[in-house]
Amino acid sequence: MNANVTAMPGRPETAESDVHEQRALGFWLYLMGDAVIFALLFMTYGIMVGNTVGGPAGKTLFSLNNAALETALLLVSSMTFGFASLASRAGNRSAVLSWLLITFVLGAGFIFLEVREFLGMIGAGAGPDRSGFLSAFFTLVGTHGTHVSVGLVWILIMSGQVVFKGLSVPVVSRLFRLGLFWHFLDIAWVGIFSVVYLPGLL
């Protein structure tokens, strides 16, 4: 037991910043792996989009207003997360918490709209089992929605850490990576409305 304690020497400050830089690179590598997943789902959607086998196509299923509202929520949430990042660097704890809360509410609103859209489609007999087009649609948009949901849980966890641990160096570094994740999801959504909703409603 004693060996455990002595085996963990305190890291000097300079090594600490190196560690966080390496973790940022590691997180970029993860995001790039995620980008590959999304790109392949986009590609699958692009190939399957015409395979409606007599079922409904995007033109009748998608709502431009709903997509515009989802886009607005996610874009504003990306900016509010940016404000949280700025506040974390300024060491302003209550501002970080407020911006994280606003970001969470906007993200939750996005998920609400998406789930409502999905349930409406499934209720109208246009679920993922209806056609190849709908399978690809639900896989692509659902994967993005899952990511956003995980991001929401992560925002809650980090809010808890800001409350209980304060804006320590590791917490700010984690907030930074959460920011990368959240901004990345907005980029994926730009792809979704440009590949799925807008062309579907032409």
Binding site: L75, H183, D186, S194, L198, L202
Partner: protein, 99 residues
Amino acid sequence: MERHGLRSYLVGFALAVVLTAIPFYLVATHALPPSRLMYVIAVAAVLQILVHLRFFLHLDFISTPRENLLAIAFTAILLFLMVGGSFWIMIDLHTRMAI
């Protein structure tokens, strides 16, 4: 420091709003024929992704570590090969299977 400041997020947000509003407005009003509208959507999307990378993720050629840029460039090449190659194969298959 200023490069990653409040200004960066506000400028990025304003540009993103414009680049979102243009394609949504054109689709809502059917202002252009669909084939030409597709080009507008594609160009606006590519520009907006670049805006997000620059102003929200703060990527640039000065302050971003080289390894990060290399990882992104490598991913871009992978995506080009996988997406481009798959479309090539599937479109070719489609034309050959068509009766």
